[in-house]
């Protein structure tokens, strides 16, 4: 297994999930057009284990790729009906290969730029003190071609514009706190022990309210005040009050 040297190269050393995959492909001397997906997925996942969960924002991109790999692996494991064999079925890896190749090109291009950067660090251009020149050459009148009348006309135009104000719409921003939403959810749950996720939102709830309500729900789940379950994949999410809170 890879476990022995897993930490030799840290995840932070990779520019992203594609970079890590390319590394694994090179390391295993794999033909990029025929990736042994099971093997690579296993190795990829063992790198993922080293993720520092404090930096989920950054790590999430690696997790997305892990999910993609698992999905491809699953599709490849599915038995193919024999009658389709004659017609070449789309290789589930195809999209990933295209992405990897494209990414690889730009990695090459980045190396080219790095080389040029190194060359240019040895070359120096004169830096001129432009302020010095400005002092030397008498400043020009920036409004040489304008008179006070132009200024006056410009102001009059503005005043006239102001007299017929364009209709403006006040968009008020709701002030919603997570605490407030948490209290709302708890209130609803004390009335009915079980409610659905959708019940949390009144009709026409603003985007902001939906987001804050969702955050409040997550917080309540974290505090173990409420629990939730979902019977099947796109089914209703049921939220319930945990017994210890009754």
């Amino acid at each position: 297994m890879l476990n022995n040297n897993k930490y030799e190269i840290k995840l932070e050393n990779f520019q992203g999930p594609l970079d890590l995959l390319l590394h694994l492909i090179e390391k295993n001397q794999i033909n990029i057009y025929d990736i042994p997906i099971a093997k690579i997925t296993d190795q990829y996942l063992s790198y993922i284990e080293s993720i520092d969960y404090l930096d989920l924002d950054w790590a999430s991109e690696f997790l997305v790729m892990a999910a993609t790999l698992l999905a491809i692996k699953a599709r490849m494991l599915l038995p193919k009906p024999p009658q389709i064999v004659e017609e070449e079925e789309n290789d589930p890896r195809e999209e990933l290969v295209v992405r990897l190749l494209e990414y690889k090109h730009f990695k090459e291009a980045a190396l080219f730029l790095q080389e040029k950067e190194r060359e240019m660090l040895k070359v120096f251009l004169r830096k001129l003190d432009e302020g010095e020149f400005l002092k030397r050459f008498a400043p020009q009148n920036p409004v040489e071609n304008l008179t006070v009348n132009d200024l006056f006309k410009a102001f009059k135009v503005i005043l006239e514009k102001k007299e017929e104000p364009e209709p403006t719409y006040q968009i008020s921003r709701e002030e919603i706190s997570i605490q407030e939403c948490m209290a709302d959810i708890m209130n609803k749950l004390t009335l009915n022990r079980k409610i659905t996720f959708n019940d949390l939102f009144i009709d026409n709830a603003s985007r902001l309210r939906i987001i804050v309500t969702f955050l409040a729900l997550l917080e309540l789940i974290r505090l173990k005040k409420v629990g939730f379950f979902q019977k099947d994949a796109f089914g209703k999410i049921i939220i319930f009050l945990r017994d210890e809170c009754l």
Partner: protein, 179 residues
Amino acid sequence: MLFSEDIKAAVESLLFISPEPLSVLDISKLVNIEPKDVEQIILEIQEEYKKATHGFHLIELAGGYIFATKEKYEPFVEKLLKPQLSTLSHAALETLAIIAYKQPVTRSEIEAIRGVKVDKILTTLVEKNLIEEVGRKEGPGRPIIYGTTKDFLKYFGLKELSQLPEYHKLIEKTAQDED
């Protein structure tokens, strides 16, 4: 020749790139050669750039040496470096007019009138020395307040702001608008 071409070129590269005049001692330390050898090289470089085909030469300045364009080519250099005469854009003119008539005025007050952001325009007008920060308004965020400059009066040939056309009439008018 006494000196290797390379050492001479190294000295030349330093004189070329240095923003300040370099003294014989500076160069001597940087290239690690004797001061008298530096002096010899400087003489050679000066001789070289005296030729009429060169547009710049090595002059002695403030205890050191520095490359400078020859006086003769000053008109060309001026044409290149002198800031281009730029006409104020219409947006800049409007903004300037608002400041002239309503000063002291904050950015957000100007934006309320013009209905668009004016931060870049204000920077330009400050750079052109037509307006300046005259203080900060009391209140939340203590926003900067702007006014026109002395140069503004000079450029427009005014003795004082009240010489602006219909200054008093317009000032009254805008004061009423505020109510």
